[in-house]
């Protein structure tokens, strides 16, 4: 309290506000996200005429905030590296994210879960194969020939956690790991933003399709963001399968996939 009150001098008024905001990080984050959501809803309803969901605009605004925060601070945690917005790191961190994702399963009928389950497992297997195969092929097409680099970039096309984990395990160079991480983040962003746009075309309107989709995409943040903006009722089914993807990816990347890539590139 005193630090906030005594923050006089040049820019003292803002410093006082920033101190209070920083000292109450989680509360600040809730208020900021509430404001962003309200503005996003307003933009979606008025400027965009209701053609785009408010939550899509809010997620885009969040990404813009992350870009701005990273540019101002030079850090790697987006807006959370701005001291008075650091609470966003707690609100958007893995702990509360997972608590909220689990809570979405509340009210799900067990019958629908067991019905969606087997198709979801097929989606999960196909998703990992596609991510590694297409990711590694793209890296090869872009001129990478070192098996470790090709595997690491392919792993990044799975999720932004699988990429760095695989790269670190195989001893990839820092710039290859950076490309791999970037591929994962871009995937999460593309899935978040594109899902509501393609949902109707790919038949993403029932629990089974959501379970298959979650397994195929695998990126937790992309899947939960994309489904939330499409139909919140589908979130638990997609999240359920997506949650196995990163763990399995981290298992397969440095072992089986690296072995196959090394054999192919001789």
């Amino acid at each position: 309290m005193n630090a906030a009150v005594n923050g006089a001098g040049s820019g003292g008024a803002w410093q006082a506000v920033a101190d209070v905001l920083a000292a109450n990080g989680l509360v600040t984050a809730l208020v900021v996200v509430g404001l962003v959501s309200w503005l996003a809803d307003l933009v979606a309803r008025t400027l965009l005429g209701g053609r785009v969901q408010g939550s899509v605009v809010a997620i885009l605004a969040g990404l813009a905030l992350a870009w701005w925060g990273g540019s101002v601070s030079g850090g790697a945690r987006g807006a959370a590296d701005i001291p008075w917005l650091a609470g966003l790191g707690l609100l958007g961190g893995a702990m509360l994210r997972d608590l909220a994702v689990v809570a979405t399963a509340f009210g799900v009928r067990p019958g629908e879960l067991t019905g969606a389950g087997p198709a979801g497992v097929v989606g999960l297997a196909a998703g990992l194969v596609v991510a590694f195969a297409v990711g590694c092929a793209t890296a090869f097409a872009c001129g990478y020939r070192d098996p470790v680099a090709v595997t690491t970039i392919g792993a990044g096309a799975a999720t932004y956690i699988v990429g760095p984990v695989t790269g670190t395990a195989l001893g990839a160079t820092a710039d290859v790991i950076a490309v791999s991480f970037a591929a994962g983040v871009i995937k999460a962003i593309l899935v978040m933003v594109l899902t509501p746009l393609v949902a109707r075309t790919i038949g993403l309107d029932n629990p089974r399709a959501a379970a298959v989709y979650g397994g195929l995409m695998g990126t937790n943040s992309g899947v939960v963001g994309g489904l939330a903006a499409t139909d919140p009722a589908l979130v638990p089914y997609g999240a359920l399968t997506a949650t196995f993807y990163t763990g399995l990816g981290c298992l397969l990347g440095p072992s089986l996939v690296h072995g196959i890539v090394r054999a192919l590139l001789g």
């Binding site: 994702v101 067990p110 871009i186 995937k187 763990g247 981290c250």
Partner: protein, 126 residues
Amino acid sequence: MLIYGTAILGACLLAGRLVGAWLARLVGVDGDVGGVGIAMLLLVAVTGLLRRFGRLDGQTSAGIGYWGGIYIPIVVALAATLDVRAALRGGWVAFAAAAAVVAVSFALVPVIVQIGGADPRRGGTA
């Protein structure tokens, strides 16, 4: 009471995480294999049992439901903490790999849904 619901939810997440960590150690990777998914199944099972025995009142449900409802704002906060600049710096190799995988994966959704035959529930429930 509200806290009962939130405590049940939290206990399910912790238990799921624990099982996920065991599974991860079993297969020899760091972290957590499917912990959140296991927690979701646990929550469905536990709340189903409580409901059957009439122990799940409105307040308890609200203690779980709040977190489900706050979930989109949490995703907005998550988006605000991604390393968007690093993603842009990754250049076109990163973009090409991500875009190709996402395109193929989207295209496979209807294919894999079809493999198991038509969903009997489709169109039946809203």
